[in-house]
Symmetry: C3
Subunit: 124 residues, 3 copies
């Protein structure tokens, strides 16, 4: 579940976690969860990915406080992904996504693969 | 987290995942998640189980589009299970369940055991 | 995912699971899940932890049936934890928590660490 980074005399544990966001109204809670997690373990020791599917993909298209928080978290290394099926279903264009968001073919497959690779799973 | 199937010249990775459905109104999302997952990884490479507990067990007793989708997914190898405690609580008879649904003593125990066996966990 | 206890002639499998409660109204379901789980696998074979974050931390401050159930479960070995960030956000004093509840700096970090240690994850 962990990997080790060369960080000097002591190895630094890297905590890997994938956050699954499927309800648009839970973005504020999810972003707060991630911010608190990074404060606790430290950015260098965290490998955080966010997978949005279902209606939560609309969150990537809204201006406002949440998008600003996402940009800041992306700059700190958090990876944001969007489910292509959910984008299609909500008639959202991949090309209109913010540049920090990566599209995956199926959000659920991404969640399974990340867990298989040792990531913890959190549903905010 | 994965096992390998003899599939010809190359081993085929098998992705194992258990879906936890506890809210009846989330069945459509859960079934769409599973369909998208199977389309992405391929039926032969997937080992999918669905555990319904709490009010979600009522979904097995409703006619309509969702039940038809469940039948089709069951034919493609998806395993559907129902929590016996939840069935009792909702005064539902095991014998009235569709034939493709298996009853487990406690849905949560099933979810823990599947994760212990290497299944990823998804809450739609 | 499991450890073995010295229990006599045969090792007893220990099932480890962390329950994540973030919605206050889902406490009754969470406590029922845990009770059913313990009945199924047996108290001696279970290592159960509950992590409450977001609005669910308020549940530790309410009198009533749920608190009574928590006390009983704690006496049976279930570990209850509360997220310090969530307590602050809801202006709740750590010192007013019931004695069986432990405060952790970040609920999400606790959930990640428990999964990294082999606990299954359940979102009731």
């Amino acid at each position: 579940m962990t990997e080790f980074l060369e960080g000097g005399d002591m190895p630094v544990e890297k905590w890997r976690v994938v956050f699954h966001v499927s309800d648009g109204q839970l973005w504020p809670r999810a972003l707060k969860n991630i911010t608190n997690f990074l404060r606790e373990v430290g950015d260098a020791a965290a490998q955080v990915e966010v997978v949005a599917n279902a209606a939560a993909v609309t969150g990537y298209f809204m201006d406002g406080e949440e998008l600003g928080q996402m940009v800041q978290l992306a700059e700190r290394g958090v990876v944001f992904k969007a489910c292509r099926n959910a984008l299609k279903e909500h008639a959202l264009e991949n090309s209109a996504l913010p540049p920090f968001v990566q599209v995956v073919p199926a959000g659920v497959a991404e969640l399974v693969q990340k867990q298989a690779a040792g990531y913890a799973y959190i549903k905010p």
